[in-house]
Symmetry: C2
Subunit: 370 residues, 2 copies
Amino acid sequence: MNIEVRPKPAGGINRSRLAIADCDIHHSPRDFKLLYPYLEARWREHLDLFGQRPRQGNANGPQFPKSQPDASRRDAWPPGGGRPGSDLDFMRTHHLDANNIELGILAMIRPHPGGYQNLDLSAALCRAINDWQVAEWTGPEKRLKASIVIPYEDADASVAEIERWVAHPDMVQILLLSRTVEPLGHRRYWPIYRAAAEAGLPIGIHAFGNGGTPTTGTGWPSFYIEDMIGHSQSCQSMVSSMVLEGVFAHVPALRVVLIEAGFAWLPSLAWRLDRVWQNLRSETPAVTRPPSEIIREHFWLTTQPMEEPDHAAHLADTIGWIGWDRLLFATDYPHWDYDDPQQALKLPTTPDQRQGFFLDNARRLYLGAA
Amino acid sequence: MNIEVRPKPAGGINRSRLAIADCDIHHSPRDFKLLYPYLEARWREHLDLFGQRPRQGNANGPQFPKSQPDASRRDAWPPGGGRPGSDLDFMRTHHLDANNIELGILAMIRPHPGGYQNLDLSAALCRAINDWQVAEWTGPEKRLKASIVIPYEDADASVAEIERWVAHPDMVQILLLSRTVEPLGHRRYWPIYRAAAEAGLPIGIHAFGNGGTPTTGTGWPSFYIEDMIGHSQSCQSMVSSMVLEGVFAHVPALRVVLIEAGFAWLPSLAWRLDRVWQNLRSETPAVTRPPSEIIREHFWLTTQPMEEPDHAAHLADTIGWIGWDRLLFATDYPHWDYDDPQQALKLPTTPDQRQGFFLDNARRLYLGAA
């Protein structure tokens, strides 16, 4: 038999006192990158590009591609410091002047505090952001108009915030995110729609957000790519909900803009809605005409990220179905998946179609221009 | 002041004992319809048609339209008794003979026990259903082939069930439902795909099921119509997951049939997948070619419920993109939203396209016919 030699405890152990076993001690690398020497190159590169993506994905926190920090174009970082999109002077030269932007609609999404669980914090931050937008952005720069961010999970507080801005010429839209606690057709959100219609402002619904349910109807996906794709599916559910719950019968003047959700999925969704509604319409008596008609009348869509099928004719068919008067050009500046106005809409078009797509549809919707 | 006269307790109270307040007593109408005299006509009709739909919707239980009991055509109830689809002799005359069905693929969904939480019960019921299918359906009726139902949340038990049927000529497909505990690209399901490819059988994924997450990425919808629409969105997420997780790089011979999920949404999904993958492909190194190519190669789709746009040309474009060799005609007999073969495919087509659509695509996929 071997005789077991028990190692001496390390220095500092006082044998005259009871020695302790502590079974939950937390250590941590001073910097996450100190783990890199222990990782294969493939995963170092992955982490630099996509971040760690804990469970529940991108929606749950700021896990944006690290090689495009802040999910932004590398050239969009202001030379004077600060995050992309945080320096008005730099945005003027880098984007507005360079791209001949006559009308720029600001859509605040980082942060958009509308989905925060502390409703009073949500409302307070929305008020602060709105005041800041007018004081520091639309006041000094007349090409820019802003969107009123609202604490959308609290309808009363949202209405109060909308009423604070009624008739303010710099506020041209009311901004929500698309993934809410319940689908956006539900009645808890109707006071917001009534207030929007009374104020004469469209509701802009920007893709993303997190209402607590998985991005997809089959659970949490693994990849950032799936987060990017999945938001167009949750927007399909959201459009179905708004149409079928009778929102537009209740608020006939409501106009809705879908922002950064894509648009090529809209025709097939409307075909399917029409067919099922024809068979089962008594379930939703507030919907008295085909869903496709309601969609054509009440929805606008921003163009970025524009779908790019192999055959441009397929895209032209899709836009024709949605309506050339319903698409609003958008770049998503300063984000990495930016659509360049010089490259967008590589299709045969009429001058009227291009004029509407790039400028006039937005002027009509947001400014009431003829 | 009024003098309060306390009513006497009703008969049976024994004042010599302590009288009791019981604060949780349950009563119930003998029959739910005894509440109808207290309801407006509109809601009586609604309940007859759609049932009660408790929270979490149709997916959570047998809440099918009551005026089409069992969600079935009224004329599909066998004269000799039993549920629609439960009487082989009646199905022969009422459907197979009447519609000249040469090959009928049985897809057992009521029940499909694959998502049950007790995994051993799930496996036992799947075994029973498969034995019953061969003994009582495909044995006596050679026009019918069956799908192996598997306990898909338990990959090992699923593989065992698939292996029990390898090379059985009546079993031509492995059947799952679309809404699973995790998206179907996840590795927990890969042993099923390997076993399917080894058995030379396609995986059929039928819309519906409930893995515990809401039907949509924005929460639980209110209407049966939304359940019908929402499943095509969860199938979009499911296709994205299978493509991006690298299932088809891992199992190159895998063939997947999407059943009752619609198909018109597939082109726009593929455009979006291609675009995002082009920008971010290093996140998914197992995906070495555009997602649209993978989809074109590995996916088939049944036709019911066929989208019916105003312009049939849009549907023809859509089918052209998916591939005329990839659609498999299906009626969904005996369910209420049945597609009649006499009415389907009202499009200009070539004889080859019709032959493939109505028969040969299925013969090639399921029977290996040239």
